[in-house]
């Protein structure tokens, strides 16, 4: 908001001064006084006199008045007509759309200054001509912006919802569509005003805009050019006024755009500065060495007002050739944990504590360059959305080949051939042809196969799959899960599968880590955990799955926000078994290969 306030104040001040010009104690801006020609200072004229002896300050202020009047008038005319046309065109489509949009396209075919000069030739220079030309020039901007916004609003569910309620078209347009396009239209208004000031001054500078003796900044610069050597200030004053006005208007445009783009977002999470975290305690790795050994992994993100911890003391072990599932609902921190292990955390997040050893080497403490060599080599990752995770502008074969050449010195032709073989390996029919396709030419399932081909290109020992099937249909999901299981078996990889689906866990994984609000609440072999869940959350989660004959039961409440975690057990506010004892943070207890974070697990499982 501070960025909006400052330029708005300057623009407001300029507008105010211009509007009040007749009331200010100024000299007559057109009264000539040849005796004081080019005088640097005359009492009552702090900025001096121009080449006809007219008062410069008065001309500056009256000049602002004519510039701004032209700019606001033309922007307002263009805004009203353009928005109406765009709104109607976008809503009714058909003929209105063709007329509005094609009309806008035609105006856009002319470079603005040229179109203005054409009209000036016909109608002669003057304020009226300027306003006409400028409104025509800015019309297309408003038509296009409002048209595009209406089209996108039309496709929104909330607009369809109002339509489904039987609202009349005017009601929909005024109550629902207009408020939602008001932001972009406002941005367009500020852009049009700023650019109209530029164009008006340019045309006046050429002597084809405002007609003398009416004061205008462009005309003042034009006049001062002849005498720039004797009286440079005469040139500098209007230049400065013009530049500052446009700069303030541009800044205001940017700020308005920023504010308008923010669609009803929630306030930034605020929290009090919590005490710094104690360094985690890392017990020595137990033999035999697991493929991946994660202990005490904690990720922190600095947010305005404090630090949140989306992953808190995560630990698990994965042996080669096995599958471990990390399961949790949105906000549990499961994806963040995976990106931390891969060293792909977003810039705002950092690993605050913990170790993640891949074959004994700590991934979290190694130099970035060493970790980069492991990424895509010994450890690889498959992401949730195969569309956005592939680069749309490169052929998929090239993207797979690139993964090969990042880690092995092979000629390009060989890498391409290997890429085709990999595509075949992951079950893509006609791999030679598909290798030359771009991502948008493939189906969702095929894209995910390409992602997998890329991940296994260098025979990784560890594969992390982050919700690899969430964006896919269930029949495609089944095929992808089968493929992952087969690859794990045949290549001897360790697989970390991150998912929110307990059904997927049950079918694919051997071990499971259940996360809730950044913490591990339960961990163990899948059969054991699902048959005999120790933590009330695991139980409730299993009961919410609609697979069985019993009615699924929801869990009351929602996962708390990361800045509002309860001080004790984080699940306690939603837990049917919570007692006073739950107000202190429960430790993670190990029992017969299972681990559970609940103070009451013993009595509850009795």
């Amino acid at each position: 908001m501070r960025r909006l306030w400052f330029p708005a104040a300057i623009v407001g001040l300029i507008v105010l001064i211009a509007a009040l010009a007749p009331l200010l104690p100024l000299m007559d801006p057109v009264r000539q006084d040849v005796a004081n020609r080019l005088a640097a200072y005359v009492p009552g004229s702090p900025m001096g006199r121009d080449e006809f002896g007219r008062d410069v300050m008065s001309r500056l202020i009256w000049g602002a008045r004519s510039s701004l009047a032209v700019a606001f008038a033309s922007a307002a005319i263009a805004a009203v007509i353009g928005t109406a046309l765009g709104l109607l065109g976008g809503w009714f489509r058909g003929l209105v759309e063709v007329l509005a949009i094609r009309g806008a396209d035609v105006v856009l075919c002319f470079p603005p200054v040229l179109l203005a000069l054409l009209v000036v030739t016909l109608l002669g220079p003057g304020t009226g001509t300027l306003i006409l030309v400028l409104s025509v020039l800015y019309l297309p901007g408003f038509i296009r912006v409002s048209f595009a916004e209406v089209l996108s609003a039309r496709g929104q569910d909330f607009v369809e919802a109002v339509r489904a309620l039987g609202a009349r078209t005017p009601r929909i347009l005024l109550r629902t569509v207009l408020p939602n396009i008001a932001g972009p239209v406002l941005v367009q208004v500020s852009l049009a005003v700023a650019s109209a000031v530029v164009l008006e001054s340019g045309l006046s500078f050429l002597g084809l805009g405002v007609v003398p003796p009416t004061p205008s900044w462009g005309l003042m610069i034009r006049g001062a050019r002849a005498t720039m050597e004797q009286a440079p200030m005469l040139l500098l004053w209007p230049c400065l006024a013009l530049t500052i006005t446009i700069l303030a208007m541009n800044l205001l445009c940017d700020a308005v755009r920023d504010v308008a783009d923010k669609r009803g977002g929630g306030g930034a999470p605020k929290l009090r500065l919590v005490d710094r975290l104690l360094p985690g305690l890392f017990p020595a790795p137990a033999a035999p060495q697991p493929l991946l050994d994660v202990q005490g992994l904690t990720v922190e993100i600095a947010v305005p007002g404090g630090i949140i911890r989306p992953v808190d003391d995560l630990g698990f072990r994965l042996d080669a050739g096995r599958t471990l599932a990390i399961v949790g609902e949105s906000g549990s921190g499961k994806s963040m944990a995976a990106t931390a292990i891969m060293g792909l955390l977003p810039p705002a997040a950092r690993v605050a504590a913990g170790v993640a050893r891949l074959d004994g080497e700590d991934l979290l403490r190694m130099p970035e360059d060493a970790r980069r060599k492991l990424r895509g080599g010994a450890m690889a990752m498959v992401f949730q959305d195969p569309m956005s995770s592939l680069n749309p502008v490169h052929r998929v074969g090239d993207q797979v080949a690139e993964a090969i050449r990042a880690h092995r010195e092979v000629p390009a032709a060989q890498a391409s051939a290997e890429a085709v073989a990999l595509l075949k390996r992951v079950g893509i029919a006609d791999p030679e042809r598909r290798a030359r396709a771009y991502p948008h030419e493939l189906s969702g399932g095929m894209r995910q196969r390409v992602m997998i081909a890329m991940a296994i290109a260098n025979k990784p020992r560890l594969l992390i799959a982050d919700e690899p099937t969430t964006a896919l249909d269930v029949t495609v999901q089944a095929a992808i899960l089968d493929l992952l299981a087969e690859l794990r078996r045949e290549e001897g990889m360790g697989l970390v599968l991150i998912t929110h689906s307990l059904g997927v866990v049950a079918e694919v994984a051997e071990d499971v880590v259940v996360m809730y609000a950044a913490q591990v609440v339960e961990r163990g072999p899948v059969d054991q955990v699902f048959a005999r869940p120790l933590h009330p959350y695991t139980r409730a989660l299993l009961a919410a799955v609609p697979d069985g004959d019993a009615e699924p039961e929801g869990i009351p409440g929602v996962v708390p926000r990361p800045d509002r975690w309860p001080p004790g057990c984080r699940f306690a506010p939603r837990c049917a078994f919570a007692t006073a004892a739950c107000e202190t943070p429960p430790p993670l207890e190990e029992v017969q290969g299972q681990a559970v974070r609940c103070v009451r697990w013993r009595e509850l499982s009795a």
């Binding site: 909330f158 339509r163 629902t176 609902e329 307990l502 799955v545 609609p546 069985g548 929602v558």
Partner: protein, 324 residues
Amino acid sequence: MSEPLVVAEQVEMSFAPRGILARGRPVRAVAGVDATVARGEALGVVGESGSGKSTLGRLLLGLLAATGGAVRFDGQALPKPGSAAWRALRARMGIVFQDPFGSLDARRTIGAQVEDGLAIHTNLSAAERRAQLTEMFVRVGLDPQRLGAYPHEFSGGQRQRLGIARALATNPDFLVADEPVSALDVSIQAQVVKLLAELRRDLGLAMLFISHDLPVVRHLCDRVIVMYLGRVMEEGPVAEVFARPSHPYTRALLSATPMLDPARRLTREILPGEPPSPTNPPSGCVFRTRCRHARPECAETVPPLREFGSAAHRVACIRADEIN
């Protein structure tokens, strides 16, 4: 007791490519579907992306005008979208969307949005509308104190409750729920499904429940239709379809659904190949290109839905008797 509340006969929906120079064939999203929803009944529609299930929902609501066939609501053909009769009918039908974020207007208070239906269709005073609104909020499990709040202050599950409240504000007879729980976490899903089941029972709603999640349909619906590429593959009472899936596609779909309980799992049947393009569907049975039971004769005619096992259970497969 005449005919069911909603009746669709051979309803069809083609979308033509837009623009003067646009090329390509029209997309047939729904191709000759018969469906009925009786008063108080919940009909599930399951299928994967491109099956036409959402389009079918909008056809039954009259939000889209069918390009073929007919839809009747309460014995009357649906009026033209936008007409006065059509607008009046909106009070008797409601829709709940999948996306809990996009389905609410971020710039208006939730009270105003839930109230829209009452403001459009009734002459109630502001105070009376307020009273009904409060009642509706309580019914869907929301705090009526928060009528003046904006959507971003609510969680996904609460927004879906808001969407339901908005759809039910005018006390409609028929509700289309288009994947209302797909975007929600499993612990929240169950809450919303339970709410829908309660409302259906208490208000005697007829409901079309569109979903790709078979187990949810099983708990909520009386009958189910399974769609693939714009056509119905199988339809019948949920218990029967789930116990004895008889169309090869239904079986593939059920076998692909991950199940917690190993005892419930069917032998996984992976569908070969890619789904065909809806602009150019296969001749005859649309599923034949991916069906392991396909025979040359499957390409010849579109298989009709035939009774199988019981009167209510119908399957569109010419080999249903052989393969079951």
